[in-house]
Symmetry: D2
Subunit: 155 residues, 4 copies
């Protein structure tokens, strides 16, 4: 079914991907009319917003909701992004955003993404985020507990 009536459709989930050696978070979204453009397909910038939703749900699954991370005084601003679009999606399509930690460094993290529609790969990409202290806006190392939670996603 692709009509949104299935009960578990919009529930974010987490599964182990043996090939990648990663925990992969999954969240389903329905494409908004606001996200379409005059070609009738989704405007490119919105893929970065969907990546952000993937990160948000992956961090929540890891027990570290990003809102709580920020409230604890840490920011993870995006410093780099790469995006490849394989096929278009349209208003009302149900898509799935899969997100995992590609690389965890002491002061930065790379997330990777795949977006799937009807079992076809629609888009993929990566984003790199610095770890920054909100108080003085300077790069810092990940605090121990956050680091452990993120490490937990990479096995």
């Amino acid at each position: 079914m692709t009509d949104g009536s299935s009960d578990s459709l919009f529930v974010p989930s987490l599964r182990h991907d043996p090939a990648r050696g990663r925990l992969v978070g999954s969240v389903r979204l329905r494409v908004r009319y606001a996200e379409s453009d005059r070609m009738g397909i989704v405007y490119n910038a919105h893929y970065l917003t969907w990546f952000e939703i993937g990160r948000t749900e992956l961090l929540r699954s890891a027990g570290k909701p990003y809102r709580a991370v920020e409230e604890a005084g840490l920011l993870l601003p995006l410093v780099e992004a790469a995006l490849r679009l394989r096929a278009p999606v349209r208003y009302d399509d149900l898509i799935q955003v899969e997100t995992w930690v590609e690389t965890l460094r002491s002061r930065s993290i790379v997330f990777a993404y795949r977006i799937v529609h009807d079992r076809a790969l629609i888009a993929e990409g990566t984003t790199t985020h610095a770890c920054v202290r909100a108080a003085d806006n300077r790069a810092t190392t990940f605090p121990e507990r956050l680091r452990e939670a993120l490490l937990g996603l990479t096995c």
Copy 2:
């Protein structure tokens, strides 16, 4: 729970509201980081996008997905909107958009909306849409079956 783990959380639903004499559609959304602004709250324009999501799910519940309406050659462009913001919402808040048909005329329709967060009314508004034939971009009356489906929401 407000953490998104409940199974039925993101499933759009439809219920009868005896006070309004209307079927009211409900859809839950999680506020995106992209929707926040430098005040730390949701930027005002996004409420109109959330209203659109409310319409989309209400029409789907009525058996007339808006995408199918457009594919059948009809457009329902917004011609008027009114919006009142009662309290701010923030990144990662789970909100509920309630939508119903306020008035059905021969060539236009008024939808009404309430947005709720933690049982508090956050925003409310209405949008008016013309019924337009895509072929020649002219106002037209609602086709019989669509009119019946919309009428079915008003009792």
Copy 3:
């Protein structure tokens, strides 16, 4: 000319409108591809963003750039909006946003807007903003100098 080559095209300006008894700010914008939707016209939520640009330039013309207002500890969050769309605009159209102060109260302000394309009225609306102290997020009266600057726009 509508091709953007005229020198003064994108310069915000201020003129007196005797009929309204108001100073009216004008700013020209070119419609972005990102603002179009699958109907080929501008998606409705973007009109609220254009209104915001109109306010920003009107306040700058009044000698009170909104960024400086915020930096001085005051916020003007939108609490109400009304919008009427008269005719569609499309990607690459050059539009003009006209903004003026409709009503100045002690703790709130109403701005009014007209959007014009090729001398035709495209959209009009109003937005109401509360005057809020950032420190404690409470409604307050306009500080004297800001009030004078805003009053200066209404004659």
Copy 4:
């Protein structure tokens, strides 16, 4: 001055960059409130929208406005993007988007971008676009005249 009062501020321009052997288009934008996020800086996805504005003005300078390209039956959908953010920008900042043709192939084109604020490099990136016939949505070679106009930008 950075307050928008200079006459020629928002006029797109084209200049030859001898180091790159390219014509580089320049367009100035003022950061919108809607583009800020809760960190107080511009949300990452908007950089892709600014790149689009850079392309739009570069193509116009080359005598081939993109809107006319589309009206002639050709689409240039984005298929790949890379983005590096060097420093944040904020609401009301005046930024400059510089755009040039990095690589012109028979069926695709790569544009490159630099975004500058107060003479500092804020962001840079590239986007790759396929050349697609709107009629059947298939990849095609650039039509002769468009190809010549684009080639004219690379010398």
